[in-house]
């Protein structure tokens, strides 16, 4: 003990002191490195990061390296893995499928981002306000949510796309929003029930007594606790946008201004009958593999990200904070990833 014995706990001084640099290093370690280490410690996450980086690279660097698709890049309907020049083969009109695949990636990433961000922001906002405010606001918002939850998403999107045929543009951001038109409802419900329990937590009550404004309580005390749900839903909606956009482009009812995996599948079927003729099958198969691979990456990422928000797993991977107790067995609590499919 120090010579100046503290008389009460309030006068106690920390026994160790941190320099500014050490503090920065600690923050960096807790906020950035620990999550990365957690992610890296899981094989699923490693595969996920690998797959997702491939697509990110395709969407950024790949677009510059691979020439834009144009007719007669090669002979018509070269099979996949036959020539080095056109590794994935060519289409009926001689487009290189690799070029199409790569140049379809950036619009897809834009669509995903728009749709997932929209869903997460709207779902969190409605769920939080509804749960925290309660009363009439809650009643109205939840009635709306229930209706939005019951209306099946894909038919609604198809009808909107059909009704807007004349005025809808192929802008990927707009398509992303359209594909997420009622996806916020599920998240809003989940968030609301979380907020209902958090609302009465002691530390929230303390903030309220201290006179902290409602907006600040919601943003500082409540929303950080909802991150697992938000992340899960972000990933899920990303998947939903991929599935939905490719399906609707394949069916041919969405407008487009650039190549898309679904458009590729559509032309493979409509121009060369890829389902029934083996010579054109690769044209259909390559974009389908891209969809499956990207969605598999996202699924695995969601499974691994689940662990990011588990404080115990997190503490174990932080190096600068003193070890408390190292529990080696994983706590088998119900985590959002397991509850939300």
């Amino acid at each position: 003990m120090s010579p100046t014995e503290a008389t009460s706990d309030f006068e106690a001084v920390s026994e160790t002191s941190l320099s500014k640099r050490e503090r920065y290093r600690q923050t960096l370690d807790e906020q950035v490195l620990a999550p990365l280490r957690i992610v890296w410690s899981d094989w699923r996450a490693r595969i996920a990061l690998f797959v997702l980086s491939i697509f990110l690279l395709m969407g950024t660097v790949g677009v510059m390296l691979v020439p834009e698709p144009s007719p007669n890049q090669g002979p018509a309907l070269v099979g996949a893995f036959r020539t080095l020049e056109h590794p994935f083969g060519t289409t009926y009109s001689g487009h290189s499928i690799l070029s199409q695949l790569v140049h379809a990636t950036p619009p897809m990433l834009k669509m995903i981002t728009a749709g997932a961000v929209f869903t997460v922001v709207l779902g969190t906002a409605i769920g939080t306000v509804s749960g925290y405010k309660g009363g009439a606001v809650d009643g109205v918002l939840m009635t709306l949510t229930d209706v939005a939850l019951t209306i099946p998403g894909l038919p609604l999107i198809i009808v909107l796309a059909g009704a807007l045929q004349g005025s809808l543009s192929g802008n990927p951001y707009v398509i992303g929003l359209l594909l997420s038109v009622n996806a916020w409802a599920g998240l809003a419900r989940a968030i609301r029930s979380q907020v209902l329990t958090l609302r009465d937590a002691e530390y929230v009550e303390a903030s309220r007594i201290l006179g902290v404004p409602t907006a600040e309580i919601i943003s500082k005390d409540i929303v950080p606790n909802l991150m697992p749900y938000v992340t899960m839903n972000f990933v899920q909606q990303a998947r939903a946008v991929i599935f939905g956009s490719v399906a609707l482009y394949f069916i041919g009812i969405l407008p487009y201004d650039s190549v898309n995996w679904g458009v590729m599948m559509n032309s493979a079927q409509s121009q060369a009958g890829a389902v029934s003729s083996p010579e054109a099958f690769h044209w259909l198969l390559v974009p389908m593999l891209a969809v499956v691979l990207l969605s598999l990456g996202l699924t695995l990422f969601a499974q691994a990200a689940d662990r990011l928000f588990n404080p115990r797993v997190r503490a174990r991977h932080t190096k600068t904070t003193p070890d408390e107790q190292h529990e080696d067995d994983e706590p088998d609590e119900p985590t959002p990833a397991r509850m939300i499919r």
């Binding site: 490719v246 009812i253 389902v275």
Partner: protein, 337 residues
Amino acid sequence: MNYIVKRTAQAVFTVFAVITLSFVIIRLLPGGPADYLRAQLIQRSGGSLTQEQINQRIASQTNIAVDEPLYVQYVDYMASILRGDFGTSVWYSNEPVIAVLGPAIPWTVFLMATSLFIAFVLGVTLGAFMAYREGSGFDVGSTGVSLLTNSVPYYVIALLLLTFLGYRMELFPTGGQYASETTPGLNLEFVLSALHHGALPILSLVLASFGGWALNMRGNSIRVLGEDYLRVARLRGLPERRIALRYVGRNAILPMYTGLLIAIGFMFGGSIILEEIFAYPGVGYYMIQAINARDYPVMMGAFILITVAVTIGVFIADVTYGWIDPRAEGGGTRESY
């Protein structure tokens, strides 16, 4: 009882909301169906139709009398939809929409109900076995397969099945609902033919969704297996069969029942794409045809029918949930997902 009344009110409200939404889409969307029909009529007639005649045409097709005040249009539209009058088709030589879509409804419901049932039963059974053999090779393998199939969209599976089983091996028909030489009715040939034609669409949905159910069931069962009441049940010497079915099975399935609510909507959405791929004339097939032909009355009719079907499905699931799980009577259990 109160619970059922509340859920019924909610279902009725949803139907009203959907019809309202469809009114908004037809009438108020800029560049939407009403505007398109008007432009089309003016262009086709070359100016020979008077304003009044045009309005009359639009009214007979969409049930919306555009020259009335907006609230009258709305009330009229609502009334005619509730009477089962969905307007007249533009594409199918002015037949009433219900005559086009009506015969298609049972086929879509048949596809969806069968796939949902098979996927659920298969997934739950597999998940339970995986949980009982947790950590074994069987468990790891099945988890991998479930994760993988869960990442493959149903339409990709559908296209692969159609290519290989339909065209290359010619094991299954590549379109239609039943062979044309059979007579619809309760005879063996017809039923077998219908099953043969429905097999691939059903298989696509089952393969794409059983993995999700299995993973869900596995997680729930493992959680239940760790509960104290299970240890007590074992100590009481209850037969293993009873424990597995009554104690583990029941408690693990309950939380998944709400997942059914979401699955019903998902399945009906999926039916649209699948029916198009397999050229299976259900509601979704006509919906896509209608969109491509700009036959808006049929499109909106299909949308309303599908949504009402989903609402009824969700309603049934909701009400029976309160019956299966007595705790739900208190309300508020819907929040559990």
